[in-house]
């Protein structure tokens, strides 16, 4: 009898390529890269079966720094290329890495359709609310009034919310993380990986050169506990450094409000309990803005449906089963044909 030796589990550093990482020192991307390498190790990802696909931008350099298969493509089109990969070989484990400009400006259409089709990939959106690689212009997620080389007097247009966009497009898995969440990020990526269908993960990522501190109002150590709500399925929504703040549904309105436990006779039982399968709840949580409401972090929504490529494969299997023949010679002779005899 053959003894099969299970392959040695790979360590996070085994997923690093031999290429020198070339992001700016202090860039949030380094932390996300570490988080992904740790997640790959935790998952036990097979390098040969894993493909990282990216478009253009700082984040899009990601595949070069991993020892898996990688495809650095063109601006905004990574979702389309990933879709082609998955319909050709559904066995491959595909991750798409993108930025806010790549996925919500030039590639917004492709992200929309990736999500509605529910192609089984992990989609990581590094949101730094700025164009980094082209030297600091405002992006589709920049807040109105952002001063940048292309908007010296402040931007006029309102930003798009990545989470609202994803939910609107029909995403079945929507999560949020922060580049500095070194402990939680690998777990978040692992959940994204477990989910069949498109797993959409927005990561607030600090651009140290062009948009430093843009998320500090809810990520700085002193304020983080009071400005972030970390979601857990089945648990009441409690936050705050004293764990005494909570979220509940406002009476008579489809709105959330922050309450203090023990104040105005509010108890834990009054708080909303997070339900990952509730899309409306996810929409409300995604809309919390970090000023009068905390920013929701973690898995906002997870309610799987069959993936696109599963549907494509099932359809093909049915068509093949019902087909009289797979012989092209027979196909060319179906329908009306006629014989010409030798004269």
């Amino acid at each position: 009898m053959n003894v099969v030796t299970p392959p040695e589990p790979l360590k996070p550093k085994d997923y690093a390529s031999d290429q020198e990482v070339r992001w700016c020192p202090g860039c949030g991307d380094y932390a996300i890269l570490r988080g992904v390498q740790k997640a790959l190790s935790d998952i036990g990802a097979r390098k040969e079966n894993t493909v990282f696909v990216s478009g253009i931008g700082c984040a899009a350099r990601f595949p070069y720094y991993l020892s898996t298969y990688g495809f650095h493509t063109i601006h905004g089109r990574a979702p389309a290329i990933a879709t082609g990969i998955k319909i050709t070989n559904p066995e491959l484990d595909v991750w798409v890495v993108s930025g806010d400009g790549d996925s919500l400006s030039i590639g917004g259409n492709h992200l929309l359709h990736l999500l509605r089709r529910n192609v089984d990939v992990q989609f990581l959106l590094f949101n730094n609310e700025i164009y980094g690689l082209t030297k600091g212009q405002y992006s589709p997620t920049s807040r109105a009034g952002t001063r940048s080389p292309s908007t010296p007097f402040g931007s006029v247009d309102k930003p798009v919310s990545p989470v609202a966009f994803a939910l609107g497009a029909g995403a079945r898995f929507v999560a949020r993380g922060i580049d500095t969440m070194q402990k939680q990020l690998p777990g978040l990526f692992k959940r994204a990986h477990e989910h069949k269908g498109t797993s959409f993960v927005e990561i607030f990522q600090n651009c140290i050169v062009y948009n430093d501190g843009v998320f500090s109002d809810f990520t700085e150590k002193e304020v983080a506990a009071d400005r972030q709500l970390h979601l857990e399925h089945g648990k009441p929504m409690i936050f705050g450094k004293d764990r005494n703040l909570g979220i509940r549904l406002k009476a008579g309105a489809l709105k959330l409000e922050v309450v203090t436990i023990g104040k105005d006779s509010v108890t834990e039982d009054d708080l909303l309990v997070h339900d990952e399968k509730d899309q409306m709840m996810a929409t409300l949580l995604g809309g919390m803005n970090g000023t009068d409401m905390p920013v929701a972090i973690g898995i906002l929504y997870c309610d799987p449906l069959p993936s696109y490529e599963e549907g494509v494969s099932a359809l093909a299997a049915r068509a093949i089963e019902q087909a009289p023949s797979a012989d092209v010679n027979e196909l060319l002779r179906h329908g009306h044909t006629w014989m010409v005899e030798d004269a």
């Binding site: 390529s17 290429q19 097979r46 390098k47 040969e48 079966n49 894993t50 493909v51 696909v53 253009i56 595949p63 070069y64 991993l66 020892s67 898996t68 298969y69 990688g70 495809f71 650095h72 493509t73 063109i74 089109r77 979702p79 389309a80 290329i81 990933a82 879709t83 082609g84 990969i85 998955k86 319909i87 050709t88 070989n89 066995e91 491959l92 259409n109 492709h110 929309l112 359709h113 494509v312 359809l315 093909a316 068509a319 093949i320 087909a323 797979a326 092209v328 010679n329 196909l331 060319l332 002779r333 329908g335 009306h336 044909t337 006629w338 014989m339 010409v340 005899e341 030798d342 004269a343």
Partner: protein
């Protein structure tokens, strides 16, 4: 009088039919009159009768243009005969005009003394006005130069189908079958294939099938028993001398679809066809969508860019990505094609050309995307460009596209056009099992592997696909180091990579057949050089001029880029070179710049194929 659903033996009138070597019939009516269907059925019946043929469906861009208007006229032309048929015909012998607008639009194409079949049931004052007639052409003598058959086809059809219980609207829809029956008698065609077809098509609505068959038979019977024209006993077109074998009618769109699937089977690759609907390329998508059992996956993408990108993803994953479109869509794919050039992945891109610029004339034919195919990308981005010359040729060229794309790891653009895509011709069905396969072998050798390691002969890079342990690698649009495949910004390396990409494409010429001369001497006074769908008219025109005893040659290019190795030398052997194209002069520029040959353009962009007579005149003027 009507004949019941069963067929009786074709009766013949006492006097013999008039024998013609070939004939051209044009069916014209409203968009909703079913003229394309009528033409398609007549094509099958004519092919079965052993004639060679060529067709030209000519229809408006609007799906249902307002009834009775001239811009809503939909036409189908067929040229068939006892000799080899090369084009759909310059002018027609028989015109079927289902309404005044059809007569208004099409009369100018009818030969003097040609026959017009007119449905006078539609010649109301209102319809005449809509068509732009102040006075009915039936009354003012303007049709005196023709032989006119006036029939109230609308009324005759209603009578023929009344026992089948259709609504008035449904019953009138059988008009085209009534007309088809009439034309079938005129040319002695068998009705049975159309009867079989109707029974199959309306299997779930037998009353509709029966009504249509009744209309077909009634039209036939009326033609057979009545005196249509003085002494007219119908036409007979003898069988053409055609290579023996099994035939079918094929359109270019079908031939491309089947050829691509066959090519992928020969390459032993999964075919992944990614496309976005666009006229006139959509029929390729429709045909392939039914071919799942043949190893074809189709993907209707969200836009042209996504279609090209998904196809690139498919090739990256180890399938063969194929995308198709028409000029405006190819423009959108441009950046993705650059990526495929840069990462050197196989890709087949079909361009069913149409008249432009911009939306242009979506349903009209043109061959004005040659520049776009050869040069239409940023930077030095060479790729292979092939062109099909006829509907049946699309099959062979599709296979050749797959072969070159996989052998040389390059995108291949296959040019067809709206005319080739929609037109049908008889096709001697090939035996696919007799075609030499060209299986792809993916890289398996880890020793010294890098993704841009090249085959020393073809310069194709090694094709390693995800899933293979030990060959994990990263590729992308950034310039690659020649020796490692890693990102490289080194100036000398970029020179070297640019050179090798061009060299690789040039080497395709060594792997392609030398340019041959279709007709006429190998050198001499005048070479008429064409490409794509102008094959038919050029070939017939050159043949006719040769028949007059003049010296002229026809050269037709399938390999647009790279050009055939011997082409420059071949052209140098002629005193003059004439290049007819349905554009403002694109191949002619390429030939002049590549070979410093004094080639002269002959150009037309009317949305209609060249007429043989136009070409004959142009040739004669240069002899």
């Amino acid at each position: 009088m009507s004949i019941s659903g069963t067929l009786k033996k074709e009766a013949t009138k006492e006097a013999p039919r008039k024998e013609l070597e070939s004939a051209v019939v044009r069916f014209a009516g409203d968009s909703g009159d079913g003229m394309q269907l009528t033409g398609g059925q007549f094509t099958l019946a004519t092919a079965s009768a052993g004639n060679d043929l060529a067709t030209f469906p000519d229809f408006p861009a609007e799906i249902r243009a307002p009834a009775g208007t001239t811009y809503g006229v939909s036409s189908f032309q067929i040229n068939f005969g006892a000799r080899g048929i090369k084009t759909s015909g310059d002018s027609f012998d028989v015109l079927v005009a289902m309404n005044p607008a059809a007569l208004m639009v099409e009369l100018k194409g009818l030969k003097t003394s040609g026959i017009i079949i007119i449905d006078i049931g539609t010649f109301s004052e209102r319809n005449l006005r809509k068509a732009g007639y102040d006075v009915s052409p039936l009354a003012d003598g303007s049709l005196d130069a023709y032989r006119v058959v006036e029939l109230d086809i609308s009324q005759l059809t209603l009578e023929a189908v009344k026992e089948h219980g259709l609504t008035n609207k449904e019953a009138l829809r059988c008009k085209n079958l009534w007309t088809l029956g009439f034309i079938y008698w005129m040319f002695g065609r068998e009705r049975k294939p159309s009867v079989d077809w109707l029974e199959a098509k309306f299997a779930t609505r037998p009353e509709v099938a029966a009504a249509n068959i009744a209309a077909l038979n009634a039209g036939h019977a009326l033609a057979e028993t009545s005196e249509i024209l003085d002494g007219f006993q119908g036409f007979a077109i003898p069988q053409a001398t055609i290579t023996a074998g099994q035939y079918r009618a094929v359109t270019g769109a079908e031939a491309i679809a089947w050829g691509l699937a066959t090519g992928c089977q020969l390459a032993e690759l999964q075919m992944v066809f990614c496309s976005y609907p666009i006229t006139p390329a959509s029929s390729v998508l429709h045909t392939l969508s039914k071919m799942t059992p043949f190893g074809v996956t189709t993907f209707q993408a969200e836009d042209e860019i996504a279609a090209a990108c998904a196809a690139i993803g498919a090739s990256y994953a180890g399938g063969l990505g194929v995308t198709s479109s028409s000029g405006p869509g190819i423009a959108l794919k441009g950046e993705a094609l650059g990526l495929a050039v840069g990462v050197e992945l196989p890709l087949v891109v079909v361009n069913s050309q149409r008249a432009g610029p911009s939306t242009g004339l979506p349903t009209k034919t043109e061959q004005s995307d040659l520049y776009q195919a050869v040069f239409g990308r940023n930077a030095d981005s060479p790729l292979c460009v092939l062109a099909a010359r006829s509907p049946a040729d699309c099959f062979d060229m599709a296979i050749e596209s797959v072969r070159i794309a996989t052998k040389f790891m390059t995108p291949v653009i296959l040019l067809t056009d709206g005319y080739i895509g929609n037109a049908a011709e008889p096709w001697l069905i090939p035996d696919v099992s007799a075609i030499n396969p060209f299986p792809v072998s993916f890289e398996i050798d880890e020793e010294g592997f890098h993704p841009f390691r090249r085959d020393p002969d073809t310069l194709a890079r090694s094709w390693a696909i995800p899933g293979k342990l030990g060959l994990e690698h990263r590729i992308g649009g950034i310039e690659k180091d020649y020796d490692s495949g890693h990102i490289s910004y080194d100036p000398q390396n970029h020179q070297r990579m640019t050179d090798v990409r061009a060299d690789k494409i040039n080497r395709i010429a060594d792997d392609s057949p030398p340019q041959t001369v279709e007709l006429g001497p190998e050198s001499g006074r005048l070479a008429v050089v064409g490409w794509g769908s102008t094959y038919g008219p050029i070939n017939r025109a050159v043949d006719n001029i040769l028949g007059e005893g003049s010296e002229v040659s026809h050269i037709h290019l399938r390999n647009i880029w790279p050009l055939a190795r011997n082409l420059g030398e071949l052209l140098a052997g002629f005193e003059r070179v004439l290049v007819p194209e349905m554009n403002a002069g694109q191949l002619v520029t390429l030939l002049r710049s590549e070979f410093l040959v004094d080639a002269e353009g002959f150009n037309k962009v009317t949305g209609q194929p060249f007429k043989i007579s136009e070409l004959e005149d142009a040739i004669r003027a240069r002899l």
